[in-house]
Symmetry: C2
Subunit: 392 residues, 2 copies
Amino acid sequence: MPFRFAARMNNARRSFVREILKVTDRPDVISFAGGLPNPQMIPVEAIAAASEKVLRREGREALQYRTTEGYPPLREWIAAQYVARGVHVTSEQVLITTGSQQGLDLLGKVLIDEGDGVVVEDPTYLAAIQSFGLYGARFLPVPADGDGPDLAKLADALSASPKLLYCMPEFQNPTGISYSGDRRRRVGEMVRDSSAVLVEDDPYGQLRFRGEPRASLAVHNPGRTVVLGSFSKTIAPGLRLGWVCGPAEVMEKLVMAKQAADLHTDHLAQRLAYQFLADNDFERHLQMIRGTYKAHCDAMLEAIGRHVPAGVHTTRPDGGMFLWMTLPAGISAMDLFPLAVERGVAFVPGGPFHASGGGENTLRLNFTNAEPERIATGIERLGVAIAELMRG
Amino acid sequence: MPFRFAARMNNARRSFVREILKVTDRPDVISFAGGLPNPQMIPVEAIAAASEKVLRREGREALQYRTTEGYPPLREWIAAQYVARGVHVTSEQVLITTGSQQGLDLLGKVLIDEGDGVVVEDPTYLAAIQSFGLYGARFLPVPADGDGPDLAKLADALSASPKLLYCMPEFQNPTGISYSGDRRRRVGEMVRDSSAVLVEDDPYGQLRFRGEPRASLAVHNPGRTVVLGSFSKTIAPGLRLGWVCGPAEVMEKLVMAKQAADLHTDHLAQRLAYQFLADNDFERHLQMIRGTYKAHCDAMLEAIGRHVPAGVHTTRPDGGMFLWMTLPAGISAMDLFPLAVERGVAFVPGGPFHASGGGENTLRLNFTNAEPERIATGIERLGVAIAELMRG
């Protein structure tokens, strides 16, 4: 007898990026495909010291069942970071999640009924499409320029009474684009005047290596913004530590959904992260990451200038982990992929990041994982493959 | 403007047990309410040694993003345990989850459409009601005697074409009851001949302190059984490590749902658990837990015999963490609760464990968390409160 799965699984697919990562595991392939932090930026020794301390001093507490909401001192640390940035929240509004990916899943569960409108940037974060898609989201993609979303198209999308607007205003995954200060204010105000919840996903905000930090959209829409954050890019992704912070009424539902989803996030990991933050100069650690990623990004941009044919456009991010390449119209990144892998370089074709299709001539490049020399070599190989494809 | 939540949240409640735990946090209250392993059974020093080793030797691998399925050596260890018990699975069929609670959530997501039938024991595990309920499960509760479910009522429930049967055949939470060998075979065969998936939740199977181990239901229904397991009761609940293991076709969907839910389970925790298993005599560790829990269970049963009025029935578990008390008809455990807390003892009223109501005169007692002397004192207090209530 065949298995009878839920209808929501009919359109579910394995993450395209994760499938690509399997193909590109060959050591001779220089991969710009993943979204991995540079392994040298993971503070292994400081985490080992934190672990030794936590397990010796409070091991039984760290390893027992704990509250769903999360470790109170860590929640307080997170709330204080927001307050320092002008977003007035308390630690009671912070829920620790199993990576910020879980925040997306819980928001989908709490907000989205089959067929509900969800406004997203076009392109947007692939795993948000997956998470919200499983709850039956009807995506309303809004294209962006270098300063953020097209406001006229955003107004159209908001007029369809969507449940939420999902956005990543700092160093977006996949494009690396950030909203300008003015665009932040306008977007915050427009959503404030709508019935939607504004979901601001900010996993990369602390990785700004050029320019001045900008305000969270929550500043412009304090009552209806939910912010998502992560320690995956600043401490260690393997610990799976993220958080959601928003209005009390939304948090109450998210806590219920979290209880049913996994009771609570690994508590030892929460105490390790807190101990790491308490015992180390976090700002200095971030400066080291920023300096490294700037060098990586610059190496990639310079190599692109040298090796990639004219007619190819590339974003110039001020932080984060990705840049975005647009090939001339009619040149397909899917066609480019096998040519590139053959030459020993990999990337992610941009099509799947578009919730309603399109973007066949786009691709995402990660600049944090490979070292600058390998970046230069990889981009040279990519340039050859692009030139070959453009020649037809 | 009010927030517009998804319809599935209309009936969601915070876990009743977790709310009770907040009330019973007072140090003067002896609590039999939670489901916590005894803190002395958590191998803190061995986990600290494993952590030191893992972080020194392979810290960068342990802290980076990893595959959704989980750490391969840990998956192999789990598969080997099943094979040794006559359940023939491979490590590819094992998915590591964020506690076995996440296994329930993922199964709900993958299998249950709004209104789908889900057969459960009556009473059943509270958090399964929560997880499946959020996906719109229509519960079909089947009562059990001391040997397992009522087979005639199970046949009725299966005739309604349910998507799954959820059961806990060893030391059930909340009752402590185990299925007999014959009942296992019959249940396995009946589900095999239906269109339902059999979900066998087994978090306590390794905590048998009396009698002989019995076969997994998967032995009787190999093609359509999904088994859930956990390290929460044998290593440490705070690490949030569980697993799901089942037919390849089901696992493929579960992996997709897991990707969207949290990408993967804390990888450091997975390596810690594996290192703990590799470096320690796990069977001896389990024997210590079993010996301790037997002493606790016996202390509780003895105190019940001495202090609880006639007319109150109690199960006599052969393992696990809970026993179940049935008060005389018409005596309400909800009415008992405030009287008991006033005398300094707490439990969980049994009503909420019944998916379709009933069981007002039942309650669950945990015997693992408090020490035997406190168990005796607590049961004496409970006996006084029950006698008072029975006198009217």
